[in-house]
Symmetry: C2
Subunit: 202 residues, 2 copies
């Protein structure tokens, strides 16, 4: 006759425990916080989840999150359309933008080549990247995939494909801690990494 | 021209950052997780928050969370109605029940006496506690407020009030780490604390 939480409390804890970095105890703590929180905070969070899922889509050009036809970066005519920074995930764009050191456009791959996870080049948004490059306006592609084995392999794969097009290809400098995650890099490290980027030559 | 997230993404991050223990970076990480999660997980979490807020109420007898007229502990006729364990918060009941060492009923105070926070005895659920005690069925009250200054002061205050009624009053033994939080005590410590409870005499 072990004590069980009421069903709806159990359900809330179960869903909270699915969040990354939230264990069973933290999920319980969050659940009790949400039950005691103001109506505005609790209903607000639930509504924000639903609203974000409904309104946010991927920018058809670069893959960034947007609630408009095209993302604010692609729509900004003051940015340099001659530079494309290639990142693994949409969240990496925010990390680059916080560093404030890049004025060009972006392209989100949606991941990195990882044979162990069954992700090959065909799973990445490469067709749309190369159709952007073939439009002829792009002078340089900055490869800003994560400084991991998968990210490096992806950068090398893309660099080799771009080379015949005569477009400069560069890679963020290794100032980034190897094995890390672009999303958590601090602004200074990211700025240094962009400044020290190296052209890939064959 | 700093980059800004789309509005609905900003809102989602803002609400997530209100959760306890979730900072700005964690809120971003959770937001991107929720955007990439399955529809079942994301809508499920939003629905679980709303559902829990809608169906869960406080048990009119003890103050525990319940989605029924009365909580499952008060409704369980196999439990000893002669013992009442007094706790600060409803979540503390779950901690006691996980330890599995108490077979009586509970009473939730809704806090502890804390003059600095403007919480006096009149802000706690004491009227309902004493009307339960005056019904005459209760032999013992176990005071399981937190082992903090406020919890000790609350226990002492209640003990003095109960003493004239001729009901045994006990306090969880100090096996609990002082300054800690009942919610995070492990099962073994809680069991020892209950076994070593001491009768308060005057």
């Amino acid at each position: 006759m072990a004590y069980r939480y009421p069903h709806s409390l159990n359900e809330l804890i179960r869903y909270l425990a699915k969040l990354p970095g939230i264990g069973a105890k933290s999920a319980q703590r969050l659940a009790f916080f949400l039950l005691n929180a103001s109506e505005e905070d609790a209903a607000g969070l639930a509504g924000a989840i639903i609203q974000a899922r409904k309104t946010l889509r991927h920018c058809p050009r670069c893959g960034n999150f947007t609630d408009d036809d095209i993302c604010s970066i692609c729509a900004d005519s003051r940015r340099d359309a001659g530079q494309i920074c290639v990142v693994e995930q949409a969240r990496d764009i925010a990390a680059m933008e916080r560093a404030g050191c890049f004025e060009g456009h972006y392209h989100v791959l949606g991941g990195a080549i990882s044979p162990l996870d069954g992700i090959g080049p065909e799973q990445l948004k490469l067709v749309s990247l190369f159709s952007r490059l073939q439009a002829g306006q792009v002078r340089e592609v900055v490869l800003a995939t994560n400084p991991t084995v998968e990210g490096e392999a992806t950068a090398l794969y893309i660099a080799k494909k771009i080379h015949p097009l005569g477009i400069t290809v560069s890679r963020l400098a290794h100032g980034l801690p190897v094995g890390g995650d672009l999303e958590y890099a601090d602004e200074a490290t990211l700025s240094l990494a962009l400044a020290g980027r190296k052209q890939l030559s064959f």
